[in-house]
Symmetry: none
Subunit: 216 residues, 4 copies
DNA sequence: GATGAATGAGTATTCATTCAT
DNA sequence: GATGAATGAATACTCATTCAT
């Protein structure tokens, strides 16, 4: 957690620093992200940064927290469809909420990717929470679906959860890149707004395959 | 491409350098991989390295090439089953060949992961080739499957290719982590041999879902 | 000298600040003693410190003054034995008074040691006063002793004063270390009370040598 | 120990770096001694320093080694008088050899003082060797003197050793300061040569007191 | 009189790359 | 062709001091 000093800052200034930090950690992985660059761009003194954060890692972990919080906010913003009714509706909703997060916060999403695959100094708990968390969640959903009778009983829970989570995790990245254009542009321009309408049909196709399979 | 001097080296020495470089870039991302460590372990002079390679990036790109070549070698080593017969058999074979590569060359595979998600200075062409290549290949397979009549006609080709490729890309990593144990151990011990038998049932379940879907 | 604001402080608060400052300068030499740590522990604002003291050096010099004053207080507290009677009795008393000071105020004593041997920005006058002062005092005593007839007339005054003062200066440190234990403990625990009885015999032996010599 | 690189340097350059380092660590204690200043004055690149030494501490410990070696060289240069004959002659010789070292190498001697009283990161063994070493040596000498019959049998060995060693340790510093002049000058001018003849009478007086005592 | 955020020159250390031998 | 010392810009981080509120 940042020091109180940071939260006492005028909203505008605090947000400016955060935005620059997010951009920096989205464009470079942990080791290469440079505190010097951040403070230079923010126009604050080196020492001031250390009034706000204990060290580089504290800033980084705070960004991870922000990312998780923002993701949660979107996942809990609109109430999900009634689980009791149809587990597939919930999965569809989950995937879409994930997408919404990535399109609304491509830089935070990128930081999330780096956290998963990079060398960031994450507490082990956080790291496992990030990977196993999604898996376990989907596994529970699959179980529920079987009980409900909307998921075939002979399906392997783990295999299904793996497929769901790997799609959940990579769909946003795929669509972002599919949009073409300059990914660097996407990352450096937080204003970028994705026309989700464009991806609707594709989205439905994926769900269709997940439900019915590719086979004939 | 390395300079001619590199290829004039005795096979043994050249391979020793390569092995150390692979281990280094598997354990650290591009920026943190250290030329100093490589030459120290290889017992060659700093300057000699620059007789063999223009710079750090040239070595790195060469390793990426090696990785791609090795992957290709495995994918083309044993002839795949007759495509004409059953496209699903080919997909199963592909996934398994991908796994074989990851288990046989965990360090190269790790370098591949880092290339996809890290900060490496890859030429845009190489980067897109890595992501789009797999996709296009699967898309072609899907098309063929439809023609053959083993893949349902109403399936979206792109969606199916996306699902195949995302599983193809992540399956190895998932199984490696699922094995538990120390991933560092896996990476630093190239002798490590995976008991593929253990993963067979899981593998079949995934294929089953891909073919028949989760739905009931 | 501290600013008037410092002396206007409630006694309790002023003393708390002083105690923390003493502990800080006893544990770290001048440059490494941290104003930040002092104010943090004292629970006062950084800026407040600079209302009390011009700068770090002013605080430091004030501590040196305190140390000298405290030493003087002990040296003059109980009246020394009658000089006229026996100069050796006075020297014995002096050495013991010095020890009392070190055992009663190990932190102040430590600050004194650092002042003699460290990098502290002492005014030259203060520094010479600290070293030469003791010497001159002992030299006067020796002179008096010769007049009294208790010190051999062929003794060199300076040499004798040097020996006395060097023992006076180092005896406390030696005994403290000889006690064994953790010197850091001694320094950080001002409550520490030295069992002076234990050092009595050693003390007498030293005086014996000073008076009679080692020779046979 | 410095890296081989350092010893491969031309004698002149290597010595220049050492001289500057010695001056730096003589004028500032460990923490305040600045690698930046040393390399700037030596006219070498920051990075070069780290080709020669692992880090700041390695340089420092090397200087301590140099100091000890130089002291040993002087203490063993001219063979000491025959111990069997007269232990007091040996003590006189020891004190003089100590003095010679301090006058010939005032800066190294100063580094030694700082090591004893400052916050330097010395291995515990080294630190205790420096303090206890001298004491034990003198204690052994006293014992021998008693056996020889030149030291009175009723003398406390520890007390005598303490007095000898404290004089041994401080005599040089005292004489240097007594010379008056600017101690900074002495430290920064390694050419400074002390006229040892001047201190002869004083030296003899001290020995006289140690042997016969001040008493009448 | 009290506050505490802002400052910026300072620190040790790293490392890909160059170049004279 | 091999060597390995030299380089210097880069890094995260510290801390006494100032000053607007």
């Amino acid at each position: 957690m940042p020091k109180p000093t940071f939260f006492n800052l005028p909203d505008e200034k605090r947000q400016a620093i955060l935005d620059l930090a997010i951009a920096e950690f989205a464009q470079h992985d942990y080791k290469n992200a440079s505190i010097s660059r951040i403070v230079a761009q923010a126009g604050i003194a080196k020492g001031s940064f250390y009034q706000y954060f204990e060290d580089k890692q504290e800033l980084y972990l705070y960004l991870i927290d922000l990312m998780a919080a923002e993701k949660m906010r979107l996942l809990q913003g609109e109430p999900p469809p009634d689980t009791a009714a149809d587990i597939f509706a919930l999965i569809r909703w989950l995937l879409r909420a994930g997408l919404n997060f990535e399109f609304a916060n491509p830089q935070l999403a990128q930081i999330g990717y780096r956290a998963l695959y990079g060398d960031a100094p994450l507490p082990t708990e956080t790291r496992t929470a990030m990977t196993k968390g999604t898996l376990h969640y989907f596994q529970a959903l699959v179980h529920q679906g079987v009980v409900q009778g909307v998921i075939a009983a002979d399906i392997d829970h783990e295999a299904a959860a793996f497929i769901f989570s790997v799609i959940f995790t990579n769909l946003g990245d795929y669509l972002l890149k599919r949009q073409g254009g300059d990914p660097a542009h996407l990352l450096s321009d937080p204003q970028y707004l994705f026309a989700t309408a464009e991806v609707e049909p594709f989205f439905e196709q994926i769900l269709h395959i997940l439900q019915r399979g590719d086979g004939r």
